[in-house]
């Protein structure tokens, strides 16, 4: 029986100071027992001699300095994992909330995980077909990649996220897959939207859900993504499943982290977020990937809403530096009725080059992709010029580019949330649009592909 302490000295926000403790270690999990028998969880943030600074995972309401007791459990925060977790719903701290039975764990895993040895990683290069042209054709997702969706409040990131989860598949395989879904501080409607969407397609049986809603305690959110990834690591690397992890919304997670940091009176970095936000996010995102000796993979799609649609805000900014690309949603395109409103120019998939081409998608994929990007960028410039000076000011060729840009948005990017286009269809649409331009403009495409496809689709 661990020692119990009745020596809580301070409770301030999510922090608590316990004095006179012995044999307590850094990062150790603790339990607070209230007078009414209720228990709350916490962990050691700092240990200085006999004083332990403790961070609560649950609300502080009801904690009393004189009659609440603290126990330290001699281990860090763990999650009991098992294949039975599929189709179940848990709260942000990994407790079942779906009226189902407790999970009988096959193993207990530290939720912080261990860093993957870079020498043990397997480079992700298997093309995942999401059925969304703007992703498959231009920002290709591969198995084991971490590709966030940068959105803004009011934009349809949930529709896109659910569409990807529903349609994603590796062509020509029927390997076991699973979805791990973690909700952090999102509304009931949004969370329910995902659940309903999984239910409709039957994916719900292959899904593990960790749900921390907007009215659940904010500090619980700090462990939610780690719970989800611990479950995902178990399914991927021990049960050889291909796991798609969706984390939404990272902005709420970072805000919870800021709350704890502020309570500790740490020197803030940009916009009040702690200086270690990069490292902290990296320990979440970097858990995606593939590793040697296992067939499974973790593909991670974090969703975050950019405050004021500002890509340079610390959360999207640091995320972009860690993840392997980003899918950016644009309010302008949304207003124009483009669905999904993916802004392809600033979007990027860093791993696409190894995931496309002959034997994976099609030999002409890389060339057409570069050409579509370049042409759309020029078309947008032409359109801007047209707004200022009128159509007459454009050269003939720029008029064609402007026409291309419009067609590109309406036919290539816009497809709705139910269309599931295979890669051949995506490439065919690309060629049809490129044929708007004269062949001499298509400098980024090899002659052999032009001979084969230009004007023929």
């Amino acid at each position: 029986m661990p020692k119990e302490y009745r020596t809580i000295q301070e409770v301030a926000g999510p922090l608590m100071l316990v004095t006179g403790v012995e044999d307590v270690t850094y990062d150790e999990l603790g339990e607070i027992e209230l007078a009414n028998g209720e228990t709350r969880r916490c962990k050691v943030l700092e240990i200085d001699g006999n004083n332990a600074l403790v961070q609560l995972f649950e609300p502080a309401a009801g904690i009393n300095l004189s009659n609440s007791k603290v126990r330290f459990l001699g281990r860090s925060m763990e999650l009991g994992v098992s294949e039975d977790m599929l189709s179940r719903v848990f709260d942000g701290l990994g407790r079942p909330i779906d009226d189902g039975p407790e999970i009988l764990p096959e193993a207990r895993k530290d939720i912080n995980g261990l860093a993957m040895n870079p020498a043990a990683r397997v480079y992700p290069e298997e093309f995942i077909q999401t059925g969304v042209s703007a992703i498959d054709g231009l920002n290709t997702l591969v198995r084991g990649q971490k590709l966030p969706i940068f959105s803004g409040s009011g934009l349809p990131h949930a529709d896109l996220g659910a569409q990807i989860a529903r349609q994603a598949k590796v062509r020509g395989t029927s390997e076991p897959f699973a979805v791990v879904f973690a909700a952090m501080g999102i509304t009931f409607e949004e969370s329910n939207f995902f659940i309903e969407s999984f239910r409709e397609t039957g994916a719900i049986d292959r899904t593990v859900m960790f749900v921390n809603l907007a009215n659940d305690p904010a500090i619980e959110r700090i462990s939610t993504p780690r719970m989800a990834l611990t479950a995902a690591e178990f399914l991927a690397f021990e049960k050889n499943m291909h796991v798609l992890v969706i984390l939404t919304d990272i902005t709420n997670y970072a805000d919870a982290l800021r709350e704890v940091s502020a309570a500790r009176k740490e020197v803030p970095g940009r916009r009040g977020y702690p200086g270690y936000l990069y490292t902290d996010l990296a320990t979440i995102y970097e858990r995606a990937g593939r590793q040697q000796g296992s067939n499974g993979s973790i593909t991670l799609i974090p969703i975050l809403s950019m405050p004021e649609d500002d890509k340079t805000h610390p959360i999207p900014d640091l995320t972009g530096y860690i993840t392997e690309g980003q899918i950016i949603l644009s309010r302008d395109l949304y207003r124009k009725g483009v669905a999904p409103p993916i802004d392809v120019l600033p979007s990027l998939s860093r791993l696409k080059d190894k995931g496309i081409g002959k034997g994976k998608t099609r030999a002409d994929h890389a060339n057409t992709m570069n050409q579509l990007f370049a042409a759309y960028a020029r078309g947008k410039d032409a359109k801007e010029l047209m707004v200022v000076l009128g159509e007459a000011a454009l050269t003939d060729i720029d008029k064609l580019y402007a026409k291309f840009a419009d067609a590109f948005e309406n036919e290539y990017v816009s497809q709705g949330y139910t269309a599931n286009r295979d890669i051949e269809e995506t490439l065919a649409i690309g060629w049809r649009l490129l044929s708007i331009l004269p062949r001499s403009e298509l400098k980024r495409i090899k002659d052999e592909f032009l001979d084969e496809y230009y004007g023929k689709v």
């Binding site: 270690t25 850094y26 990062d27 150790e28 700092e46 240990i47 200085d48 001699g49 995980g113 261990l114 860093a115 993957m116 040895n117 870079p118 020498a119 043990a120 990683r121 480079y123 084991g144 690397f237 803030p268 970095g269 940009r270 200086g275 270690y276 990069y278 490292t279 990296a282 320990t283 970097e286 858990r287 990937g289 590793q291 890509k311 340079t312 900014d317 640091l318 972009g320 530096y321 860690i322 392997e324 980003q326 120019l345 600033p346 791993l351 080059d353 890389a366 570069n370 990007f373 370049a374 960028a377 020029r378 010029l385 200022v388 007459a392 000011a393 050269t395 720029d398 001499s440 400098k443």
Partner: protein, 588 residues
């Protein structure tokens, strides 16, 4: 050696008491798990230790033991082709011990102890030697001859020297010095935070040829120079760094992945052994040392990683090699510094970074250079450093970028607008610079073609003019421009699309030798010149813009090296004939 106990644990910072006898920057072993740490502050008998491994589970009362040594690296045969973490532990060996995830407290020597290397003496018994002299050589890889040098602080006569297969710990020579006989092994140690000494620094005047057109032609870096690549995420910093690691004409490449993505290191590990160095015909891995401290690995080791890397690089420089070091990214290193500084409760400078940020950065970059090494034979070696900077939001007014800019001589500014239009490398030609350009101009003129610098100047002028003309076009439209100005715009577009744009993933385009770069510059500028002449004779601008031969110029960069000259002659001929035909047409 001093032994103390843990008093406080806060993240990677451990405070130990009873450490009065420890020295500043001593390496310590923390707790029963013997985690590696380094003393970074001493107050009375309390020492602040930054721990290079995850500290969860540590508590007060556990032992802390000083090793009495500073953080050092092992230098000797076996470095090349290795992949190390931030404190020089071999990641492939760790994997054999602890599996796919990094466990704590793993102890593996940096250089393999059981491998033997064939040591071939170049000095003989009775020879007098000074520190830095080459005692003998080891063929470390097919292309790298490892030169075993007399360690620093040793000077005297060789008493014994052995030939044959030996491990790094066996004595290869005994040197009789004023302080008695000293054993020399193939391995030596050097503290990472101290730059290795040299006799004299020289000013850099030979370019480090990279095969990247925008770099070699417009903003070249010198052997022994320092360059910074700042840019927002997605602008291609890492691709630029990888391209340089692959194609830069250095003998040795040290690549430090500091706080970056794990998959990027895997990419390097997969790709480099497959790639063939055009100069030696051997795999690129045979000249590469990798340091990987990815973003999810402990933050304190990230701080150490760039010092580990540069010390290894200096060691090869001392052998007389030209070494290139890439650090991706120095911003992550600075953040690690900030995190430790925060935990030490130091008074922060700008944006929470410690006040000593800029002096630390300067100290790091200043370890680059072209030098005459210590040793009797005045060998020359060079160490070029290329640091990536990841400014938040791409805004280079932040402290790390600014501190870096004050030191570096070459600045490749990556631009997100260029990246969006998939113009790679996205190095902005208007606000990047190279301060070595005038130093190295004569080299290019002598070694490539005598008018290299002139062509370069013409290109820069056209690009500059284009920027000004574009402003006018934005205001009043293309029609307002005169025909010569429109031609200028076309020529500048051709420079951008046909010359500067380079596809890192295209088998031919990924590397362009200087001779081919020159020919391509000639083609682009010849078009401008010939078209200009035709224009003055009355040829219509639209016809000149639509010339079919321009498409061939655009494809010239994809022409394999062996056909370059023939293709060049052919295109030039067509260009002359076609333009001539156009002006004839006008005559009728």
């Amino acid at each position: 050696m001093s032994k103390g106990t843990i008093k406080k644990v806060a993240g990677p910072l451990v405070i130990a008491e009873g450490m009065r006898d420890a020295n500043m920057f001593d390496v310590v072993r923390v707790s029963e798990q013997r985690l590696i740490g380094e003393i970074i502050e001493i107050h009375g008998d309390e020492a602040s230790v930054q721990v290079y491994e995850e500290t969860s589970g540590l508590g007060p009362g556990e032992p802390v033991e000083s090793t009495g040594m500073q953080m050092s690296v092992e230098l000797g045969p076996g470095l090349i082709t290795s992949i190390y973490d931030g404190i020089q532990r071999p990641l492939d060996e760790i994997m054999k011990i602890s599996g796919n995830n990094l466990q704590r407290g793993v102890e593996v020597p940096a250089l393999k102890r059981d491998i033997t290397w064939e040591f071939v003496p170049v000095k003989a018994i009775g020879d007098s030697v000074v520190a830095g002299d080459i005692l003998g050589t080891v063929q470390e890889t097919e292309i790298i001859e490892h030169r075993v040098m007399v360690p620093h602080g040793i000077e005297g006569k060789i008493k014994q020297i052995h030939k044959g297969d030996m491990t790094v710990e066996e004595v290869v020579a005994v040197i009789e010095t004023a302080e008695g006989d000293k054993d020399v092994t193939m391995m030596q140690r050097w503290p990472v935070r101290v730059g290795r000494p040299y006799k004299q620094k020289l000013s850099p005047d030979v370019p480090l040829v990279t095969g990247q057109r925008v770099i070699d032609a417009l903003f070249p870096i010198a052997k022994g120079g320092v360059a910074a690549v700042p840019g927002p995420f997605g602008s291609g910093k890492t691709v630029v760094q990888h391209q340089l690691a692959k194609w830069a004409e250095a003998d040795i490449v040290v690549y430090i992945g500091c706080g970056e993505r794990g998959n990027e290191m895997t990419d390097v590990l997969n790709e480099f052994p497959e790639l063939i160095d055009p100069k030696t015909g051997r795999s690129l891995m045979e000249r590469t040392v990798l340091i990987a401290n990815t973003s999810d690995m402990p933050v304190a080791a990230r701080e150490a990683s760039i010092y580990t890397g540069i010390t290894i690089a200096e060691y090869f420089r001392d052998m007389g090699y030209s070494v290139a070091l890439m650090a991706d990214s120095t911003s992550r290193w600075a953040e690690a510094l900030r995190e430790m500084s925060g935990r030490l409760e130091e008074m922060p400078g700008e944006e929470g970074y410690p006040a000593y940020l800029s002096s630390r950065l300067a100290g790091f970059y200043e370890r680059a250079g072209r030098v005459i090494t210590l040793s009797g034979d005045d060998r020359q070696g060079s160490l070029s450093v290329i640091g990536a900077v990841s400014p938040p939001g791409g805004d280079i007014s932040e402290p790390v970028s600014q501190a870096t800019l004050r030191i570096v001589k070459v600045f490749w500014r990556l631009d997100s607008a260029l990246a969006y239009s998939r113009h790679f490398p996205a190095i902005n030609w208007l606000n990047s610079y190279s301060l070595y350009e005038s130093n190295m101009g004569p080299w290019f003129n002598e070694n490539v073609e005598s008018d290299w610098m002139e062509l370069r100047a013409q290109m820069m002028r056209l690009l500059q003019d284009e920027a000004e003309l574009q402003e006018i076009v934005q205001l009043v439209g293309m029609d307002a421009l005169s025909a010569p100005d429109r031609l200028k715009l076309e020529a500048a577009r051709s420079i951008r699309e046909d010359f500067l744009h380079q596809d890192a993933f295209h088998e031919v385009d990924t590397y362009t030798p200087l001779e081919k770069q020159y020919l391509l510059m000639q083609l682009v500028l010849n078009y401008y010149e010939l078209a200009g002449e035709a224009l003055s004779k009355g040829t219509a601008i639209d016809d000149l813009v639509k010339l079919e031969v321009r498409e061939q110029i655009g494809r010239f960069k994809y022409v394999p090296s062996d056909q370059v000259k023939a293709e060049y002659d052919k295109i030039l001929k067509t260009l002359e004939v076609d333009i001539n035909n156009l002006s004839k047409k006008e005559d009728f």
